[in-house]
């Protein structure tokens, strides 16, 4: 019983990622993604009873930092990447939660 993504589902993923594609591109992605799913199905056939789910391949305890403030000295440089800055605010098109009646 093989699972397959539909073109509609592919469109929804693109929409959630706010990416626009032509239909032929989506069909190409669909083929690729379904190939990946088929590969996972192969993995499903393995006996993994003793193996816990892996969210990362490294097993070392990750680095952390202590709770001390260290100010970034170049923060003024960040404004050069912004399309518009007014009174130190990054300016974006107006966002308002839409209200329904």
């Amino acid at each position: 019983m093989s699972k397959k993504l539909s073109l509609e589902e592919m469109k929804k993923v693109a929409q959630l990622a706010k990416l626009h594609f032509e239909e032929r591109e989506l069909l190409q992605f669909l083929q690729d993604v379904n190939g990946i799913i088929a590969h996972f199905e192969k993995l499903d056939r393995l006996n993994l009873e003793e193996v816990s789910p892996t969210s990362h391949i490294s097993w070392s305890q990750p680095p952390t930092h202590g709770d001390e403030v260290l100010e970034w000295q170049e923060k003024e440089s960040i404004f050069q990447y912004a399309p518009q800055v007014i009174a130190r605010y990054f300016i974006v098109p107006k966002v308002v939660e839409k209200e329904e009646k």
Binding site: S55, Q61, E71, K75, V95
Partner: protein, 482 residues
């Protein structure tokens, strides 16, 4: 009229009291700061920047989960919660999904005079988003401004099971939760400043067996607005059920100025966050010895403390409850008791005069100029009847303003100690001699004349007589002269 069954679950976000942000070392002290001054490549989501966890975040979150009697999971895994909004520069929030910090906790609290318990579903950590402004003198029309100072501040999210049955219970749970996070130093729990935020899931059903449609209410930023928003929402849903109209599963915003909830974005689309483990952050193992260390840092919590105060100091439940709500107030009380061991009298002074002065000055007890020793010294004088309660209140007010010890204020203000009984007798006799008309009035049955005479005695003693004693002495003199 048929019965309605109300079910409420709360999701509370508390900013954790760290110096530095969750995944970078920018300061969290953002209130009142100029926009975009507490930022770096990590918290603004610049390409290539990598998050490194602030250890203190785990410590405070575990402390919170333990105080809420949760089971702590052995592994902490961070997930990406994906959505687009301009206050979220990376396009995802680092949050947690299937391995939160703690699960299955319990909070006990008192509501409507009886003890309630609410189950805690989960406690997890995540990063705060930035802030948007939609109005401002220099802001162009049709645009919004983004400030990332708040972005990346650590939050702990505390989710209850749907165990609350009324707006009162929701409010009382919230007050207890705030008290707990403050006791353990995890958060300052200030709703007005947004360091404690609350969303609610509310449903109303006509059948005790089945839940109604779940409506999420957001944007409640005080205990009062939580209470009122829930009350409004429950009434709204009841009215729809009465008319047999459908209740939509949706998110609604509390509009404080209009006293109503308003429908926001449709829910299905917004809920598709496509969580996946953040490949930039490795899972953390929580060692049992670390848990033990953190458990040791949890002080006696408000409810246990209240119960102890009721037994040990014989305080009534209501008073004990108010006294323990703020850890610092309860600490002050117990510190003061070491020098002045009359719990009931001290409790009365704490809950009336001390809290009144704190409220007037808009400060908390640790910021005030008086120490537990100062208060003990003052109350000893009142207790020995060396100064009257009224005078003591004035001295306390002065202590709050200028600090200093009781005796110094008494000397500075020229307050003499209370007139003792023998002196007072003399003053009473003099007062009677000087006011023959009032004496005559009293003797002819005018009660008011007695109050005038008491007033005169108080005036001569500059308020330093015990009014009750003055009255008794006056009556004695007046009646003996009859």
């Amino acid at each position: 009229m048929k019965d309605f069954y109300v079910t409420i679950g709360l999701e509370v976000h508390c900013q954790l009291l760290t110096q530095a942000k969750m995944f970078c070392r920018c300061s969290t002290d953002y209130i009142g700061k100029e926009p975009n001054t507490l930022i770096c490549p990590v918290c603004t989501g610049l390409p290539g920047a990598l998050p490194v966890l602030n250890r203190r975040v785990l410590e405070l979150a575990i402390r919170t989960a333990l105080a809420l009697r949760c089971e702590i999971l052995p592994q902490v895994v961070f997930h990406r919660k994906n959505y687009f909004y301009p206050d979220l520069p990376k396009g995802y929030q680092i949050s947690q999904y299937d391995f939160p910090i703690g699960v299955r906790g319990i909070v006990e609290f008192v509501s409507g005079g009886s003890k309630k318990r609410v189950r805690i579903k989960r406690v997890h950590v995540e990063e705060d988003a930035g802030k948007l402004i939609h109005e401002g003198p220099s802001l162009p029309w049709n645009s919004s401004g983004v400030d990332f100072n708040r972005c990346g501040i650590p939050l702990v999210e505390i989710v209850t099971e749907p165990d609350l049955r009324s707006p009162e219970e929701a409010r009382d749970y919230l007050i207890m939760l705030r008290s707990i996070v403050r006791y353990i130093g995890a958060s300052d729990g200030n709703m007005e400043e947004g360091s404690l935020r609350c969303d609610a899931n509310v449903s109303v059903s006509r059948d005790v067996e089945t839940l109604g449609t779940k409506v999420e209410v957001k944007n409640m930023n005080s205990f009062r607005s939580v209470f009122r928003a829930l009350q409004y929402e429950i009434d709204r849903q009841k009215a729809l059920l009465e008319k047999e109209l459908p209740i939509l599963q949706e998110t609604r915003h509390w509009d404080e100025t209009r006293d109503i909830t308003v429908a926001a974005r449709g829910k299905e689309e917004a809920e598709d966050y496509r969580y996946f483990p953040d490949p930039d952050l490795l899972p953390f193992s929580i060692e049992p010895k670390d848990l033990e260390e953190i458990a040791k840092t949890i002080p006696e919590l408000p409810l246990e403390r209240k119960e102890r105060f009721m037994v040990e100091y014989e305080l009534p439940e209501g008073e004990a409850g108010v006294l323990v709500q703020e850890k610092e107030v309860a600490d002050f009380f117990e510190e003061c008791l070491k020098e002045f061991h009359k719990p009931r009298m001290l409790c009365n002074w704490m809950l009336t005069e001390v809290l009144k002065n704190l409220n007037e000055l808009e400060i908390n007890i640790t910021e005030s100029k008086i120490s537990p020793s100062n208060l003990a010294e003052l109350l000893k004088l009142v207790d020995k009847r060396e100064i009257s309660g009224t005078i003591a209140k004035g001295i306390l007010e002065e202590m709050f303003k200028t600090g200093g010890r009781v005796k110094e204020i008494i000397a500075r203000k020229g307050i003499s100690f209370i007139t003792n009984e023998r002196e007072l007798e003399k003053i009473v006799r003099e007062t009677i001699e000087k006011n023959p008309q009032s004496v005559a009035d009293y003797l002819s049955g005018k009660e008011k004349a007695l109050h005038f005479l008491i007033g005169q005695v108080m005036k001569v003693t500059r308020g330093q007589a015990d009014p009750e004693l003055a009255k008794n002495l006056l009556l004695k003199e007046l009646n003996s002269g009859e």
